[in-house]
Amino acid sequence: MLQLRDVRVVIDGHEIIRIDELDLAPGSRLGLVGESGSGKTMTAKAIAGLLPDESKVSGSVIFEGQDLLTLNDREMSKVRGKRIGFVFQDPARSLNPMMRIGKQVSEAIRIHSDLKGDAVTAKVIDLLHQVQLPEPETLLRRYPHQLSGGQQQRVMIAAAIAADPDLLIADEPTTALDVTVQEEILRLLISLSEERKMSLMFVSHDLGVIRFVCDRVAVIYGGNIVESGRIEDVVAHPMHRYTAALLAANPGMPKDDNFSAFIGKRLQTITGSVPAVGKFPSGCRFRNRCLSATDACSTMPSPITTGNDHRYLCWNPGDRGQS
């Protein structure tokens, strides 16, 4: 349903994103994982057509057969909210402080459908029910600051799915929330995607959270998708050394559904830190931090695909971590 091909985003002469291939199948939940600054948000923005004005984008973002990169702001606004919904990291800042909750949840409905008046209100109340918010009738008259962080994020989700999109892109939707609230929101996203047969692209720096939510994962580093595949395959047999390092920094990855066992184990230390924009090495972007790097790594690795579409770009693949 969503295919990125050779997508490049350049800002101020620096290549921020270079994704040769990224696919999302209908009904699937794809996780996009990487350390902070690896280009996750930029990728989401590139799909949404909400990149900063000064960015130059090339390649193609095919959504349901249509290349979104060829659309202008007006045409793209018919896709956003209606066919692709978005939820962002900081719910407190993502809601308009001067506008009532009801107005913000109904915004996509009013923009994209012919519903009017009471029909819109009825739909908003139903949406607030679906995201499990109490007393929707009074809630829709309230302002964002009167809600807790978790409630605000539920409101954002309700607003994002209001016009029944086929795909929801959630960029670190729970990062700003505390652990118990996180789990509730994640469970909500899973059940919404199942009930509505809505695909999900879930962005997080936390492999544990992705494992909890997603069936597939794409690992991003330096704006490159370095590895992708079914979550169990990637976790069990990481091929790219960056994925292996992520897993090594995230040791307790049990197989059961116990949420608290999955999260809270943040990426601890991968040798070195993510370079600033424009400071990445040539070839494999991870080269300067990789303990397995060889001379070959100064040229961009060619993709290798094994069973179940497990795909990676690494000259010296291996699944035994960095030790």
Partner: protein
């Protein structure tokens, strides 16, 4: 909210008191001897001592000040020396043109600034917004009296479209009355609009970077739609504060424009009184104008509290 209103009211009273001291002391004490200023250096001693007595200048300064304040509070703004005119009556008689100018200036400049500033912010990275920048730069740079003169010569004398001077009261003939203030209002609005457009543009640019603007676009708003529906509302909070400052500009501009277009308003009275060395009149008028600006500021401050739901809530919990 109540607390917010109390605080604004306290600010109003305090500012008015400080302002009154400044007006009083500056003009009476620092400007040299009032009587010499009014009568000239060669005045007869008998006139001098008579005027000193009449103005109460022989009393201690603090008594003079308190008397003056008490008079103003009672609506007694004093009497002009030369014509023996009651200043309050004279001011009320001249209120019409000044009110029409300032209200007209508001009606023209506020919406125009909002439109121009928003347009310029939405198209910030495009050449189009450059036209707005050129307009505002020119508008800020040229002095109001010059613009007034230009408009009078061009649209009044050369093209003969509109009257270049004189004033017809609104109650007498509304249409002609409005015609008579079109050019002055235009001249007055140019500078104020230019400054305010800049403020709007800056406030809008700040708001455009907010996360909730991105959310609005993510729900299907175009950049322009998000700016108009979400942006203006949020930008209005910082703007309301500067709008209050613009009242002062507007009134100052009205003083200038009344003189260019010979409109019998309060601004004209101020200039005539200043030239005639009518210290009492100038002092009272300065005080009244200051009070008007302070009260408008106070009202705006309260409006600000009602505008922002966060302030509305927060303060009602506090009190």
């Amino acid at each position: 909210m109540l607390k917010h209103i109390f605080r604004s009211f306290f600010t109003l009273i305090f500012a008015a008191l400080v302002g009154s001291v400044v007006v009083f002391v500056l003009l009476r004490q620092l400007g040299g001897d009032v009587v010499t200023a009014m009568l000239g250096k060669e005045a007869a001693p008998i006139d001098v001592s008579y005027l000193r007595e009449e103005l109460g200048l022989n009393q201690p300064l603090i008594v003079q000040y308190l008397n003056w304040l008490g008079d103003i509070a009672r609506g007694d703004l004093g009497t002009s020396y030369a014509m023996k005119l009651d200043v309050f009556t004279e001011m009320m008689r001249r209120l019409g043109p000044t009110a029409m100018l300032t209200i007209g200036g508001l009606i023209v400049s506020v919406p125009l600034s909002l439109i121009l500033g928003t347009y310029s912010a939405i198209n910030a990275k495009k050449i189009r917004s450059g036209f707005v920048d050129v307009f505002t730069t020119v508008g800020i740079a040229v002095p109001t009296f010059w613009v007034g003169l230009l408009f009078a010569l061009l649209f009044g004398v050369r093209l003969g479209w509109l009257p270049t001077g004189g004033y017809i009261p609104f109650t007498e003939d509304p249409l002609q009355s409005i015609r008579s203030v079109i050019l002055p209002v235009a001249a007055l609005s140019l500078g104020v609009t230019s400054v305010f457009t800049r403020y709007v543009r800056t406030a809008m640019l700040d708001v455009m970077n907010e996360d909730f603007m991105r959310s609005a676009m993510a729900r299907g708003r175009t950049r322009r739609g998000a700016a108009i529906i979400h942006g203006v509302r949020n930008a209005s909070i910082p703007l309301v504060t500067v709008a209050a400052l613009q009242f002062g500009q507007l009134i100052a501009g009205a003083v200038v424009v009344e003189n260019v277009f010979v409109l019998p308003g309060i601004g004209r009275l101020i200039v005539i009184s200043t030239l005639g060395r009518e210290v009492v009149v100038v002092q009272s008028l300065a005080m009244v104008l200051m009070l008007i600006i302070l009260i408008l500021n106070f009202l705006v401050d309260i409006a600000y509290g009602f505008l922002d739901p966060r302030i509305r809530d927060k303060e009602s919990v506090d009190v």
